[in-house]
């Protein structure tokens, strides 16, 4: 009990104001004794400065890479919820009847027993739900396919709901971080990273994509 008194308790107690939420002294990763330390650490970094992508993606020395990637992907999926909420208001099944980015590919929704052409909003929701399922079963092996699928949400938003995308990207830097992440850990091939997020021009470099009808 004695050390509880001198210790700062990192809690979001009921009644905490929004600005005070998670606002507590940083905890050094090595001192985190929780089993959820990696998630805590990543979230702490993001909260500290969400634009510092390199900092965020830099794993602590001792950290197992698989867990690091896994926790990051969870964090991406979680944050992608924000773009899904925005899309729900804007991306209607009538206007976006298929999940497309460029005109080159129609993405089939893999959440179903037989992949089918879901409207973009359904594809987005289903993909996030499916990712939640997959990631909670800790199947690290499927990180690549989860990455490919969730990336299409970025690409759809970018090509079809550009304002929404920009707004979201400015708030979170999520697409940048994601692109950096998959590149760093070789989870996706460069050819299919079609959102020109690191290019100043909006012309969109339609680089020929490799095989991509994997659902």
């Amino acid at each position: 009990m004695a050390d509880m008194e001198c210790r700062t308790e990192r809690r979001n107690r009921p009644g905490t104001k929004t600005i005070d939420y998670y606002r507590w002294p940083e905890e050094i990763f090595e001192e985190m004794d929780s089993t959820l330390a990696v998630q805590q650490y990543i979230q702490q970094l993001i909260r500290k400065d969400f634009t510092a992508i390199d900092e965020i993606l830099k794993a602590p020395d001792s950290q197992d890479e698989g867990v690091w990637k896994y926790e990051h992907l969870r964090q991406f999926c979680m944050e992608l919820n924000g773009i899904a909420v925005k899309l729900q208001n804007e991306c209607h099944p009538e206007s976006c009847t298929q999940m497309t980015a460029t005109d080159q590919w129609i993405f089939l929704c893999a959440a179903h027993k037989t992949p089918k052409e879901c409207p973009a909003i359904d594809y987005t929701r289903h993909t996030l739900d499916g990712a939640a399922c997959l990631l909670n079963k800790s199947s690290v092996a499927k990180l690549g396919s989860v990455c490919r699928r969730v990336y299409r949400i970025f690409s759809h938003a970018y090509f079809h709901h550009r304002n929404l995308f920009d707004e979201f990207e400015n708030e979170t830097f999520l697409c940048r971080r994601f692109t950096e992440f998959v590149t760093k850990y070789n989870l996706m091939s460069k050819e299919i990273l079609i959102v020109p997020i690191f290019e100043e021009t909006d012309s969109g470099s339609y680089i020929g994509h490799s095989a991509e009808s994997e659902a």
Binding site: R11, K17, Y21, Q40, V85
Partner: protein, 917 residues
């Protein structure tokens, strides 16, 4: 020649007889052939006279041989005579040419025809003979079976007799210290053969054994009375044995009757069997019929058990003796105990009466002891049977009559194990018989009315409280442990008149019917003395089972009180259904069964569907998820089940902090860190998780709070919502109206509200807790503080902070319960605002509270990673479960009770929710 013709005629005529024997026919045929040859000779030689002399002999011989033939001939009547005369004529006219008359093919044909006919007849006789032989064999077999059965029984009786003598000797020795001289104390020897048994069939057997039986039974009765075995028991026993011996063929009809009228119920009612059958035949009125019905029933019962008890023939006689002896001894144990525990009534005269009656049985004894009552009862039963669709009032009257009556009956029951109750039981059952035909609604109505009536009619039985009162007491005192106790049940049941109990059991939760049906396959305990003494009705039965519960163990399987005891338990469950079921469900140990794994971040709140095994969780990952506990996938490692969400609610842009579910389960409300309040229409729990997006799920947002919304509470009747926010306000909303905000409550001096709840026993009030340790009751109408709970005391000097994390209102009592950061749970009286109780409940801050729907148990969660279940009566911890892992310094955010199912759940910072059963 003429003579010859006459002879031929005669032969022909004779042949025309129908009843000719084969031998006769053969003889005649010889004769015929002979005469035929003669005739041929005559034809050949032109009627040489010497032949005729030869012919004389056979003719006379024929006449002598068949003296019977002559009268036959005479009797033959016109046709025969006619034939002969005509043949004579023919013969006369065709004297010279007989070949025309008797051609060889014609005669051969005739012979063949006759032969075939006789053969056919012979085969018919043989078939008949075989049939008769088969029947003889069958009957012989049957008789053998009966004799075997009887031998078994005689053997048993002898054993019993021997055991009794032994017992008496022992008793005598113990009492007087000397050996008792009682002549022939030697184990009965069982001769194999049928020996002294009557060989010639059942009729003699019956009469004989009736006499022997009577004597033997008298002797037995004497013995049994010495050791306190009541007459009723003996009678029931004897009845059973007699029925086994097949002495009551009349039973068949009675049984049939019973089967038509609610037989299943009666038959299933365990020891109610006897009274059940008598009840159904009570309409007919005549006691012999009843009796035979009973005994037949009993025989059936016994028959079912017979195979197991079948005694092997004399080769195993010794082993069997041992067995039986053991059984008898067990019986005596029971009897001895009963002799101590239960007053033994002394009704020799009655037993004598029964003695006189060949079909002495329960009914008769009842009639003898309480003729007037039983007569009335019978009439009642009759009425009831006739008027199944009787008017409510009529039935009600009968109920009230029953009420006072059974009241007496059960009173008697307590004083002595009286035979008078048998009839009562029977009446009850027959009541039920007619009752079953009525619709449950009607019954429940009647039940209610009846209860009221009965409360009035109740005569001074101070020792037995009313059922409702008893339940109240149980409720108040929390006599959970006592509930399982047969004695407490005894009280309940005996204070509850039998028939309505059964009816309530039937209409409520169907458990009555079920439990009754359950008993059916069990070895029927009908003839058990106790059971019969109680009557056919379950409640009565339970009553006495309770009375004699101490004997249960010592009673051997023969008596089958084990089943009785079970029945009691069943019945107990149904009688006190409303309280005990829930109590039971929370008395158990909770185990984690479902793991809800899909959120990406801490689960801040959860709420159960009011009815279905469905819940919603709200998480810091900005989503809410809907879970159907019936859609599970088995987890790989553990015994628990993983559940996948059936729906994900997306609408919040920040962590979701609080959640409330409407009482219909159709809507839920969530408050987020972004200050938004979202109203959701919950999709069906069987929705495809990957269905297309339905924007109508998010019905609307309640805007008004300017900071994180931390607390939500829903009015239990109308759809009013209270929300507490970090902006310092508590708001009352009507989410369905166009201007949803109804009122705002602020108390700036007290800081930021942390949690809010409607005061459940006074829904015009709400209680709000603050991070300043204040806790205030507001009047929702005026918006003014009503009571300020005395929460400051004890909190001020705490090093853990003054924060109250959660406040909830007890569902039934004027009690407010608060969860404190300083590890305490505190209880406050709403009226006075005084602290009622305080306890250090956890090792770390208490974060969440939930009270079960009955208000008996409290669930608390803490950042010490555990949830604890508390008994609200004595404020003791019933169970502690370590449930969630820590993220930063937080662990458990919310706990919940399912409003109607035995589920509890916890939500944690480790992004999991867990459901315990």
């Amino acid at each position: 020649m003429l003579r010859l013709a006459a002879h031929l005629d005669f032969v022909l005529t004779k042949h025309s007889f129908r009843n000719l024997r084969y031998e006769t026919w053969r003889f005649n045929r010889l004769r015929f052939v002979a005469s035929f040859a003669e005739k041929i000779l005559a034809v050949k030689y032109g009627g040489v006279p010497f032949v005729s002399s030869v012919m004389k002999i056979p003719e006379s011989g024929t006449m002598e041989d068949g003296p019977n033939s002559a009268p036959h001939n005479g009797q033959l009547g016109p046709s025969g005579v006619g034939t002969s005369s005509s043949s004579v004529k023919v013969n006369n006219s065709d004297d010279n040419n007989p070949r025309l008359q008797y051609s060889i093919p014609g005669i051969l044909h005739f012979i063949q025809h006759e032969w075939a006919r006789f053969e056919m007849e012979r085969s018919q006789w043989e078939v008949e003979r075989a049939e008769l032989q088969a029947r003889i064999a069958f009957l012989q077999g049957e008789r053998k079976g009966q004799e075997n059965l009887k031998n078994d029984l005689v053997r048993r009786i002898k054993m019993l007799e021997y055991a009794l003598k032994q017992e008496r000797a022992k008793y005598h020795k113990l009492k007087y210290g000397t050996e008792l001289q009682q002549g022939d104390v030697k184990p009965p020897i069982f001769e194999d053969g049928i020996g002294g048994e009557p060989v010639d069939g059942e009729s003699i057997f019956i009469t004989n054994s009736n006499v022997n039986w009577r004597q033997g039974r008298q002797l037995l009765r004497q013995y049994l009375q010495e050791i306190g075995y009541t007459d009723t028991i003996i009678d029931v026993r004897s009845n059973r044995v007699r029925s086994l011996l097949g002495l009551n063929p009349a039973g068949a009809s009675a049984e049939k009757e019973e089967q038509t009228g609610g037989g299943t119920i009666n038959g299933g009612a365990g020891s109610g069997v006897v009274s059940g059958s008598s009840g159904s035949s009570a309409g007919a009125g005549s006691s012999p019929g009843d009796a035979s019905g009973n005994s037949k029933r009993l025989s059936e019962t016994q028959g079912r058990r017979a195979p197991a008890k079948k005694v092997p023939p004399a080769s195993l006689a010794e082993a069997m003796i041992m067995d039986t002896e053991a059984a008898v001894m067990a019986n005596f144990d029971f009897l001895a105990q009963e002799g101590v525990g239960v007053e033994v009534d002394d009704e020799d005269d009655m037993s004598d009466e029964m003695e006189d009656n060949t079909d002495d049985d329960t009914d008769d004894s009842a009639t003898a002891s309480n003729a007037a009552t039983s007569k009335r009862n019978k009439m009642k039963a009759k009425n009831l049977r006739d008027d199944v669709d009787a008017e409510t009032e009529e039935v009600l009257n009968e109920f009230s009559f029953l009420g006072s009556d059974t009241d007496d009956a059960s009173h008697e029951l307590r004083v002595q194990t009286d035979t008078t109750d048998w009839d009562r039981g029977r009446l009850t059952t027959s009541d039920e018989d007619s009752e079953w035909a009525m619709d449950p609604l009607h019954i429940s109505q009647l039940k209610e009315l009846y209860r009221r009536d009965r409360a009035k009619n109740k005569r001074g039985n101070v020792s037995r409280p009313k059922r409702s009162a008893l339940q109240d007491v149980l409720n108040e005192m929390g006599l959970k442990e006592e509930c399982g106790d047969p004695y407490s049940f005894f009280d309940t049941s005996s204070s509850t008149p039998p028939s309505p109990t059964a009816v309530s059991g039937f209409s409520g939760a169907n458990s009555g019917g079920v439990s009754r049906r359950n008993v059916v396959p069990a070895p029927v305990t009908g003839p058990t003395p106790v059971g019969i003494g109680v009557g056919g009705e379950a409640a009565h039965l339970g009553g006495l089972a309770g009375l004699s519960s101490s004997d249960d163990e010592s009673v051997d399987g023969h008596l089958g009180l084990g089943e009785l005891a079970q029945l009691t338990v069943n019945n107990e469950a149904e009688v006190s259904y409303d309280i005990s079921v829930n109590k039971e469900s929370f008395r158990k140990t909770w185990n984690a069964k479902y793991t809800l794994r899909s959120h990406f971040d801490g689960v801040r709140a959860l709420a159960f569907h009011p009815v279905e095994p469905v819940l919603v969780t709200a998480s810091e990952d900005c989503t809410l998820k809907l879970w159907n506990l019936q859609k599970t996938i088995p987890a790989k490692k553990s015994a628990s089940l993983d559940v996948e969400p059936v729906y994900t609610f997306r609408g919040h842009t920040g962590p979701v902090l609080c959640l409330a579910m409407s009482s219909t389960g159709e809507q839920c409300f969530s408050g987020g860190l972004d200050g938004s309040l979202q109203c959701w229409n919950i999709p069906g729990s069987n929705i495809d998780p990957y269905d297309s997006y339905d924007p109508s799920v998010l019905s609307n947002s309640l805007l008004g709070h300017t900071d994180a919304v931390w607390g939500l509470s829903l009015h239990s009747q109308k759809l009013h919502l209270l929300s507490s926010s970090a902006d310092g306000s508590v708001r009352l909303w009507n989410p369905q109206s166009k201007s949803p905000l109804l009122s705002v409550f602020t108390s700036e001096s007290d800081g930021v509200p942390t949690s809010v709840d409607f005061v459940r026993d006074d829904l015009n009030r709400m209680v709000t807790s603050y991070n300043s340790a204040a806790c205030i009751l507001f009047d929702l109408e005026t918006g003014q503080p009503v009571t300020r709970l005395d929460t400051d005391k004890g909190v001020e000097d705490s090093v853990f902070g003054r924060q109250i994390n959660r406040v909830i209102s007890h569902p039934t009592l004027p009690l407010t319960i608060t969860a404190h950061e300083d590890r305490h749970i505190r209880f406050y009286d709403n009226n006075t605002g005084k602290l009622a109780h305080a306890m250090v409940a956890h090792l770390d801050a208490v974060t969440c509270l939930a009270v079960d729907p009955n208000g008996l148990y409290l669930l608390s969660g803490s950042h010490d990673c555990s949830i604890r279940l508390w008994n609200l009566e004595n404020k003791t911890c019933v169970q502690e479960i370590t449930s969630h892992r820590k993220k930063f310094d937080e662990s458990i955010f919310d706990v919940a009770f399912h409003p109607s199912k035995p589920f509890i759940a916890s939500a944690g910072a480790d992004a999991l929710a867990k459901v315990f059963v």
